[in-house]
Symmetry: C2
Subunit: 225 residues, 2 copies
DNA sequence: TCAAAAGTGTTAAGTTTACACCCATGA
DNA sequence: TCATGGGTGTAAACTTAACACTTTTGA
């Protein structure tokens, strides 16, 4: 023991991830099955313990990488959860992070391997420990942020149609919006660029594909949806 | 050792408090001097280590009580700070909380005893470790919240004038607002009640004192400033 | 009597909302 | 040919912002 603060208690610290995805018009969360005892087999968020040589943010990135094979995932801290008995095994302080990923980037095989599945945000089952609370807070924070900052694009493919983008906002906000009003606002944001490519998978006529231009956004960050 | 998770590392966990006050038209933060080594004597937020028998929220309440002698302080979590080398002594993961108090409730003697002082939010000196970051994030979160929820009253005496309330909003948002427009919006909020008392300390003429009615607010929570 | 803060309404500008039809295509 | 989703503009309602003078009173 070489520390300065020897008289104080130490705690296990974990990270838990609320991973949002958008598919078939639904906002979804990756829910897994707990691999450790106690509570082995219960439905749970995916998480892991923080190691001595990494920051909590690095731990969250590591855990996300373990699960998805993806790097540089958009991620924000939800907060620390530290009730004394929140974990039935032993005291654990857990830091929750939410992440936004494009469901197409996540391989089916890794999904099966880790026994995780996409669950509609409105149909989350009872989860291990206080994970339902974490999901609730993450959802609220994400909803706030998505209307002020252009983070929605993390949930979509690089090229997307305006209808996809609209459905995403509708799913997040839980209310449908008027198509013409929505598109009017999009037109005012120069950083949502129309390409000359057309997506024919969603309709017979086809819809123009758009792209988020980060550089243009940073020149004039006037986002509001 | 009786835990389930024996193979994982444990960490010191602390709480640090960003205590906001409003006085003489200024938004201020309580800044102290660090009592422990390393960094003893440096300017710092007030904090303390989490104990085994308390949640992190309880720890924050305890620390706030130690410092101010006040209970039931309005408090919200800012987030967890967990870089590996954030504390020069030993690895410490710290959870920051911001608190709102009425400066009149805080006795001068306790203030001297703990060697803390109110510092204008725009003149915060370099603080220990990552405490400047914590203050910055706390300020941002508080600013967001104060315009959506009626938390400003925690910074004011029970009875306050509309000018005081306006100055508070101006200090938090960093911009002055039009008096007539401000008062118009106040009038629409029934839970900000005019009393028949008059404060004569701020002007010769005197100004009506108002009060926040929590019950009325909860019946119709239509706050927006 | 005058300096200093309290109190009070109206109008223009800007933003948000409501609303309906034609288009292109594959089945 | 028709069902399906793609694409487009205008007017009314509402919200926000700009703006100036009178009142009260203690020094």
């Amino acid at each position: 023991m070489t520390g300065y603060y020897q008289e104080y208690s130490k705690f296990l610290v974990a990270v838990d991830c609320i991973i949002f995805g958008f598919d078939k018009g639904e906002l979804r969360v990756l829910i897994g099955k707990r691999k450790l005892n106690p509570g082995c087999g219960q439905r749970s968020l995916y998480g892991g313990f923080v190691r001595e040589d990494e920051s909590i943010e690095e731990a969250a990135n590591r855990v996300l990488y373990q699960l998805t094979g993806l790097d540089h995932i958009f991620m924000r801290q939800v907060g620390a959860f530290g009730n004394v008995n929140r974990d039935p095994g032993e005291r654990v302080i857990s830091i929750a992070y939410y992440a936004l990923i494009n469901v197409n980037d996540y391989s089916q095989s890794l999904q099966k391997q880790h026994e995780v599945e996409w669950v509609n945000i409105n149909e989350i089952p009872t989860l291990y420990s206080d994970h339902n609370l974490m999901v609730k807070k993450a959802r609220k924070m994400m909803k706030e942020k998505i209307s002020r900052e252009p983070i929605s694009f993390n949930l979509l493919p690089e090229l997307f149609t305006l209808t996809q983008l609209q459905r995403l906002y509708e799913a997040v906000n839980g209310e449908i919006v008027d198509k013409r009003n929505f598109r009017k606002r999009i037109k005012e944001m120069d950083f949502i660029e129309k390409t000359n490519k057309i997506d024919k998978t969603g309709s017979k006529r086809g819809a123009y594909l758009y792209r988020f231009n980060k550089t243009t956004y940073e020149e004039d960050p006037n986002f509001k949806l």
